[in-house]
Point group: none
Chain length 202, copies 4
Amino acid sequence: MREEKKALIMDVALLHFASEGYFNTAIRHIARHAGISKGLMYNYFESKDALLTAIIHKSVNEIFHSFDINRDGWLSEDEFEFVIRKINEILKEKRSFWRLLMQLMIQNDAREQFLKSFEVQDSLSHPGHEPGDNQYPALMMKMIKDYFYNKKKTGGENYDPDSEFDMFILAMKGFAVTRVYSDDIDEGHNEKLLNRIIGIFK
Amino acid sequence: MREEKKALIMDVALLHFASEGYFNTAIRHIARHAGISKGLMYNYFESKDALLTAIIHKSVNEIFHSFDINRDGWLSEDEFEFVIRKINEILKEKRSFWRLLMQLMIQNDAREQFLKSFEVQDSLSHPGHEPGDNQYPALMMKMIKDYFYNKKKTGGENYDPDSEFDMFILAMKGFAVTRVYSDDIDEGHNEKLLNRIIGIFK
Amino acid sequence: MREEKKALIMDVALLHFASEGYFNTAIRHIARHAGISKGLMYNYFESKDALLTAIIHKSVNEIFHSFDINRDGWLSEDEFEFVIRKINEILKEKRSFWRLLMQLMIQNDAREQFLKSFEVQDSLSHPGHEPGDNQYPALMMKMIKDYFYNKKKTGGENYDPDSEFDMFILAMKGFAVTRVYSDDIDEGHNEKLLNRIIGIFK
Amino acid sequence: MREEKKALIMDVALLHFASEGYFNTAIRHIARHAGISKGLMYNYFESKDALLTAIIHKSVNEIFHSFDINRDGWLSEDEFEFVIRKINEILKEKRSFWRLLMQLMIQNDAREQFLKSFEVQDSLSHPGHEPGDNQYPALMMKMIKDYFYNKKKTGGENYDPDSEFDMFILAMKGFAVTRVYSDDIDEGHNEKLLNRIIGIFK
DNA sequence: GATGAATGAGTATTCATTCAT
DNA sequence: CATGAATGAATACTCATTCAT
């Protein structure tokens, strides 16, 4: 019950944060759109900042849990393609979240605070347990990098796995920006781009 | 004289907007750093918003004027490479402007306002005259698109110029985001990425 | 049972009011520390203000009832010394209450309200009955004043009982402020001061 | 001009702080009574807290500068009496300030902050210069204590200067509280009390 | 041209109190 | 008897903008 209300508030807030920007969104507006009073917001979230943090952590967790790839440490070619397609899906489904995230990463102070909030959670995770949710980004990066290193054997003499990895990240950034910030996306068109990316890097 | 002062204010403002964010930057701070009084600011610019618009138009003009390519309507392969390298340079030189621009494009209302401000200026330009500054983006896009269409003849059967164009834009977006938002850029590293992009699309 | 709970709440509230201040103490905190819910508080006390009033009246009653001197209307020298020592004890035992009281007396509106609350209760007491609790302060004042008047016979020509009374009250105020607001009281030291006061006025 | 306005605001604020209490006084009310807008307040004082601090420092300075006693390190009997009479005058003239000060000294956190604000100013005073204003309290205390030590020669065998000092401070506290918090003071009456105090301690 | 005093709407946050359950 | 969700008025503070000088 309480959790449902929190989720409702977070959903409404995310929409506003994503479209108007975090600083431009007044608590009053979130409350009004969530159908509650300003004061009640503070019953559920300690502050505007805590609300933001809660939204981000929830989304990050959902995202990384949706990658249920076989975690044996390396990616096959098919798994690599699966990851790319999964990213494509997530960019669509969590569009608002990505807009919010990009907005924050672009702001100097917010970026630092964001990264720090993950570190803190990290230090609380006990050794010997599952990796904290905040370690997923690093783990995934490593798996992808390893993928390109594994390709070296078949890549020819001039194949440079580091550059290939960087180029791939760069392409995915461009893809993400495009997918998240185009108002009307032609899915057929998007599919073509996706295939082209897969074609280059798989 | 008056123009010099305006330029000074715009430079100072751009630095602040880029690093602290447009909304987080107080007029008072800009004025202080420009060595003038708050009130005088309004002698030069009608409002904070007008200041922002002026900065953007000035930067956009500077950028497009720095592409003094042979405007015969189409790009040779060398000119294409030149354009890419020019973009690379501009991303470095106008880093503050790009940060500001990305910051704005990410905000719904700002994005619309930005695009609208170009349209308005556009509608004022009379037919038969030089193209308005705001038409440069469209012109450049067209030239690049044509470049890929011209390559069709030598590109083989499956060559799709539209996809190639989209893929190129996507790569450049990723490249821009990376270049503008990395705190320490290894120029050698950057050169490698650049060459890889040229390698793929030239 | 109900009275016990009320007493518990009042005790907890007094501690908070005394140390954090009346306005700085949130009902929520009192409730939490008393182990009940915020809402239930209002079952026992009409308002924060009513809670404060209840605490004060309870404390005032306890204090004046602890002076179980022989009420024959006048004080012997020994009884006078007993009263002073009793005040000393009460200042120590009811430290929280005194801090709260001084805090309130120092605020214009609170002082008026406090004094009024006693008047009101007073007017409700019927003639022919026991004196209302709120009359104790006045009674005690009168007994002490009489004490000084009685000393006139033995006090010499220049002895002025009114001035002596005022001076005594003044000394007791200074003593109270010191005793209630010193963080670490040296009891030996305090005893010396007490004896000096008794020496002057007994 | 600017200083006059600051002084006006401080005067109005002091009156409100003294009668309604610091926390109970809204900036809005001070502004209204000073005939200015809320926002302008912040042009003159950084925060409500800074306003309070400014008021206190100004008053403390005025008070200690009004004691222009011969600073040869010790007090003659006449100077001692002068000090007492001066204190009496200041309590009357700076009534609002004393109410504010007592109110603050009674609040745990405010007391600490108040004392700390003096320490800070202290550390900024350069060695070899006049004593900082914040050292006056300590200096004055020392002079009074010395006064009682000097009386020891003529005070008889049982004379205890430390107790005498403490008793004097206690009496002055009681006197201060009475003088500052009585709504209508009979000056003749007050003079009698003053003479009695001088009689006991001179 | 140039200043900065002045304004007031807007922001996040707190908290006594009410009331459906 | 008991809870805590819900409200909204109040508070300190910020800032773009105006205007008398």
